[in-house]
Symmetry: C2
Subunit: 254 residues, 2 copies
């Protein structure tokens, strides 16, 4: 996964397990699609298939929200959409600021997923004076100097960081000091925040590296299966023997 929670160990927020919370948006998306097709009810089996999860898991997830299903029938789509939306806090409007309007920041500003579903891009902020005033996705970019004022004026509690890694912690500190308590971090850095502030990170290169690991493993297995006895992998040596790699080859920088 492209993200991981920071801090806040495993506090069952008001009884709903973290793992369940992470799946609710998935269910909501599937339900919204059904709602648009005017489907009145769904069974846990159908909905689970649409969301790509196990049906027992889905039922257990919903059981944390309450008993919203009807046995022998299934779940009322519209009602469930509302309940999940309410649970996730999407019935209210969340103003969001995006800091760092480079390629990625601009892409985020243009991303439709922000506008819908209760999120509103309240402001775009960048440190480059040349960017100031220039409209991106129809919203004029403002300078970092005004960050605190923007946060307070708009009542922003969610911030998105899309700056270079070097600037991320500093931006984060200012956001938090100004009152932001939830941060979505796209910069490849570990952010330090005080208790009570939630950070979620999206890190492209981490995701790629995880894929590469599995890819390498697949290649190794395949080679082992294709060639020879199939018992001992021929490509990769097992861990534990420090033998073949005495000195350190060139490994790429940051």
């Amino acid at each position: 996964m492209a993200t991981g929670r920071t801090h806040r160990p495993a506090t069952r927020s008001r009884g709903i397990p973290e793992a369940t919370v992470a799946r609710l948006p998935l269910y909501l998306r599937a339900l919204t699609a059904l709602s648009e097709r005017s489907v009145p009810t769904v069974s846990s089996e159908e909905l689970a298939a649409a969301a790509g999860v196990n049906s027992a898991k889905l039922r257990k997830d919903f059981s944390y929200l309450g008993s919203y299903g009807t046995r022998g029938v299934g779940y009322d789509v519209e009602y469930l959409v509302y309940q999940i939306s309410r649970e996730l806090g999407l019935t209210q409007d969340w103003p969001v600021v995006i800091v760092g309007i480079g390629n990625l920041g601009a892409a985020l500003a243009n991303y439709g997923g922000f506008a819908s579903r209760g999120f509103r891009v309240a402001a775009l902020i960048d440190a480059d004076p040349a960017m100031a005033g220039k409209p991106v996705a129809g919203i004029p970019v403002q300078h970092t100097d005004d960050l605190e004022k923007i946060i307070e004026d708009n009542g922003v509690s969610i911030g998105v960081i899309a700056t270079p890694a070097g600037a991320a912690q500093q931006v984060c500190d200012r956001l938090v000091a100004a009152g932001v308590t939830s941060i979505l971090n796209f910069a490849p850095t570990v952010l330090n925040v005080p208790d009570g502030v939630d950070v979620r990170k999206v890190d492209l290169s981490i995701e790629l590296q995880i894929l590469a690991f599995h890819e390498q493993r697949k290649a190794g297995e395949e080679a082992a299966a294709t060639e020879g006895t199939g018992a001992v992998p021929a490509v990769r040596d097992e861990s534990g023997d420090k033998g073949p790699d005495g000195d350190v080859p060139a490994v790429m920088p940051a």
Copy 2:
């Protein structure tokens, strides 16, 4: 987190737990920074702090790779950088294709994190004929018609999908048919893939919704603590009572 694994239940890939694999890139990043500062060794405590994890967890993670530390001293930075790089498969070159060169796709193509660390953008692919030939990040965009040929010619096994949701599954099918076995999906859809293919997803709106959930909870707790007795939350009603919401309010579309 912005992602979640699909398929492949919990197979301890060659003995290394999935959770550990997901943290290796984090350690690698911290170690690379130390390496650039020419720091020769680190203790588990220091490195754990830099990576934002528990030191016991870090030591256990490293123990899956082998005994690379020296008691009383710590870990040799350069050596560990190499070992982790090798374990993640970053000592080889991974050609990657990006499909869907919109705002996000272009941002990804320009993202420095791809170029470094063993990943190379082999091709950019888009369905829009008007895009064909136009260079993005110095690489000419190619048309979707040539997808299969591009995959095969470049020996690509990792694909990145940055198309609209509607096109994602179709693109995914073609990538898989052409030989791609690892996919990083930025489109807000659940992808169906055959066994043996890894999918990781990065979903901005899911991340935001999870943040909104916690944000709402924090707001509720705060209101309860600030006002009145402090025992009963005043803002949000507890689950289970279907009372106040008889009919369904307007919930935003997709």
